[in-house]
């Protein structure tokens, strides 16, 4: 089965949310107007990312981060037999030149940087391949996606999209029941924390906006980020009145036996079609 489409219709933030919640493993290929990106995920976490015009092999990343000099970088690249990232990393650690943590931090920053650049892509064909092997010879990292998703939502400027995502400010929010969600691990802004502190099925989004002195765009953007990160879900507020003109349902005014009999007759008929 395919997981493909265009970022125009399904944003990178939404894709990250999907990968995160479904704990997907595989390669996400994105083809934009001027570049291509490859992002590898392992069990819903970012493991590797590269952009077509910027090499993300270990030597290049360390050189860009000024952990290797130009001479060292040239020497590594000039080797007759190219060294893969794992072998190079081991060499640098064993030589006491860099620690394992420094190497992983540099790679994490580089991979996260690729994903952040994708937030600016309004269009781009994407395809997720759950059977793709991890990129050969690369060092994989494990980066939680929630912070990236919230970061992506902060950059969302499209008022229309936000309005479509959260059309009704009179809905309330509640925390999801995901056991692995840990708010303390998230880098929320002051404004986001203020919104989080008001989350309760009794408070509508509009009330939260009023209490936190945010306009519609600001509150929608923050709520969108929390929704996409899978931290909260929209619920009908506990005190919200029923619709002004309730619609009558077909079973109203019937006894339970009459209701059962009617539905059973329908089931028998459909089975017999």
């Amino acid at each position: 089965m395919a997981l493909k489409g265009n970022l125009r219709d399904f944003s990178i933030t939404q894709l990250l949310n999907l990968v995160n919640l479904a704990r997907k493993t595989g390669m996400l290929y994105i083809r934009g107007a001027e570049a291509k990106a490859e992002i590898y995920f392992r069990e819903g976490k970012l493991a590797y990312a590269a952009m077509s015009h910027q090499p993300n092999d270990l030597a290049s990343v360390l050189y860009r981060e000024k952990k290797l000099s130009a001479g060292q970088y040239k020497a590594i690249k000039a080797r007759k037999e190219p060294m893969n990232d794992k072998a190079l990393g081991l060499l640098l650690v064993n030589a006491g030149y860099l620690s394992q943590e420094e190497i992983l931090q540099c790679l994490q920053a580089a991979y996260v940087g690729v994903v952040k650049r994708l937030f600016a892509w309004a269009e781009g064909y994407f395809e997720f391949d759950g059977k793709a092997p991890p990129p050969a010879g690369r060092i994989l990292v494990r980066v939680d996606l929630e912070n990236l998703i919230i970061e992506g939502a902060r950059q969302l400027r499209e008022w229309e999209q936000l309005q479509n995502e959260i059309p009704d400010l009179d809905m309330a929010l509640k925390f999801t029941d995901r056991p692995d969600t840990n708010l303390r691990k998230l880098s929320l802004s002051v404004e986001e924390w203020r919104v989080v502190s008001f989350i309760n099925p009794k408070n509508t989004i509009r009330q939260i906006a009023r209490a936190t002195k945010m306009n519609d765009l600001e509150i929608r953007r923050i709520v969108y980020g929390l929704l996409q990160a899978g931290l909260v879900e929209l619920v009908r507020p506990e005190h919200k009145p029923a619709p002004p003109r309730p619609i009558h349902t077909a079973l109203e005014g019937k006894t339970k036996d009459e209701q059962r009999s009617l539905v059973n007759r329908l089931i028998s008929r459909i089975r017999g079609l």
């Binding site: 949310n17 479509n164 619709p243 006894t255 339970k256 539905v263």
Partner: protein, 179 residues
């Protein structure tokens, strides 16, 4: 003669007319017009008022299937069609993620009209580009308790399964509710 109805809703070109046509014993009374908008020109005609199919259950009971117009500008019809419904089916095109947001919005609108049971049917699951059900569940933000069913609207058995699942949900609600 008693009549009951099930509403089949969903975004533009989700397959609502085909779904009803597949099980209706009469030719579907379709109110289709030629598409005028370039953006929506993925098919030649679209439903503008409603589709209408019928399944005679016995001499005292008839089930009507109503298909809503898919284009948002005809949404004034939705509330009228919802009146007295037994339940509703939200049909989503599994190959067009660009319609998922619209599907979610339609689902919310119908849920607000009436507290009747519903199921979501992921249509065109036979096509190569179809998204996985579990991916669609996340994209549509469906709770794990909501029935999301694979569907091929042109296949009778598939349509029957969706209708039956909705009826099972209605039965569960009857059994779980107050007398």
């Amino acid at each position: 003669m008693q009549t009951v109805k099930i509403v089949v809703t969903g975004p533009f070109n989700a397959g609502k007319t085909a779904f009803i046509q597949t099980v209706s014993e009469i030719d579907v009374v379709a109110t289709e017009r030629k598409i005028t908008s370039e953006a929506e020109r993925v098919k030649d005609t679209t439903t503008v008022a409603m589709d209408f199919g019928r399944i005679t259950v016995d001499e005292d009971l008839v089930l009507y299937l109503f298909g809503t117009p898919g284009q948002r500008r005809f949404d004034f019809m939705w509330e009228i069609l919802s009146e007295g419904m037994l339940g509703f089916i939200v049909l989503v095109d599994s190959t067009r993620p660009e319609t998922f947001r619209e599907a979610r919005s339609i689902l919310e609108t119908f849920r607000a009209y009436a507290p009747t049971p519903y199921v979501v049917a992921a249509n065109k699951q036979d096509l190569e580009d179809a998204w996985d059900l579990e991916d669609m569940r996340i994209a549509l933000r469906l709770d794990s308790r909501v029935k999301l069913l694979p569907c091929v609207a042109t296949d009778k058995e598939s349509v029957k399964k969706v209708l039956l699942e909705l009826l099972f949900s209605i039965m569960e609600e009857i059994e779980g509710g107050q007398a």
